[in-house]
């Protein structure tokens, strides 16, 4: 069996890559994919700790996270389609109507 902290370190690296994508990119869909990457890194942490402490609750939580990620992806992509119809771009810096 592989020690738990290897999985935690992999999860931390993936989460940091996702943070980097959200902070440095302007394409809305790429930012969204980076968020999915972070969600998956957290799922990996849940499963690593579930095995470490023999808790089935971690798996149930990952199940719900997947369901909610599906709902989030559907609504978020619909918002981007709507934004594209209005502005002909999905550059998130262009959607600045409510900007201070």
């Amino acid at each position: 069996m592989i020690p738990t902290h290897w999985f935690l370190i992999l999860s931390a690296i993936l989460f940091a890559i996702g943070v980097c994508g959200v902070l440095t990119r302007k394409n809305g869909i790429t930012i969204f994919m980076s968020i999915e990457l972070m969600v998956n890194a957290v799922n990996l942490t849940f499963l690593a700790y579930a095995r470490q402490f023999h808790q089935i609750h971690g798996l149930i939580f990952v199940f719900f996270v997947m369901a909610i990620a599906a709902a989030e992806a559907a609504v978020g992509l619909a918002i981007f389609i709507s934004l594209f119809h209005h502005r002909a771009t999905i550059d998130v810096d262009e959607a600045n109507l409510m900007r201070w």
């Binding site: 992999l10 990457l37 369901a67 909610i68």
Partner: protein, 167 residues
């Protein structure tokens, strides 16, 4: 020993394809790289003795959600749009901040989160998860079904079904 080889190979695959998602200019390539990264994560779930969730990862994430992403990217014809780079200051702060965050997290985990392996196997197949899901977690399960229904209606409304055109 073979377990370690599998772990490090697929960890490298996951990290490299995740970097590709963030660094590649073309969102279609990014979406396909994200699919590859999710497959590598499914292998991680198998190594963590959760085959049910590995199957869900492949079917729901790599199958359904990423196909939705690809459809939207191709529907909007995004690969023709050139994405202008962000401001240099934002670029620098983004890379430096996330690198510092990641290095700090890895340092903390490798120093303080090293634990003994649990004794005995952990059985988390579909049967165990299903029994727990439909006994203790039945209420959240039904709530998620309502949430998914609301997401379907919201997505339809947002993505261009115009009510005034219909009537």
């Amino acid at each position: 020993m073979i377990e370690y080889a599998v772990f490090f190979f697929f960890a490298a695959v996951a990290v490299i394809f995740a970097l590709m998602v963030v660094l590649h200019r073309n969102p279609v390539v990014g979406a396909l790289a994200l699919v590859a990264s999710f497959f590598a994560l499914a292998v991680m779930y198998v190594l963590l003795e959760a085959p049910f969730l590995a199957a869900l990862q492949v079917i729901v994430y790599a199958g359904a959600i990423m196909v939705l992403f690809l459809f939207v990217i191709m529907l909007l014809n995004l690969q023709k749009q050139s994405e202008e780079p962000t401001r240099p200051l934002q670029q620098f702060l983004g890379y430096a901040g996330s690198a510092a965050f990641g290095i700090g997290l890895v340092y903390y985990l490798s120093k303080y989160a090293v634990m003994e392996l649990p004794a005995g196997p952990f059985i988390a197949d579909a049967r165990t998860v299903g029994i727990r899901l439909f006994e203790a977690y039945i209420f959240p399960f039904e709530m998620v079904s309502i949430l998914l229904l609301a997401a379907i209606v919201g997505a339809l409304l947002l993505s261009g079904v115009r009510m005034e055109e219909r009537t």
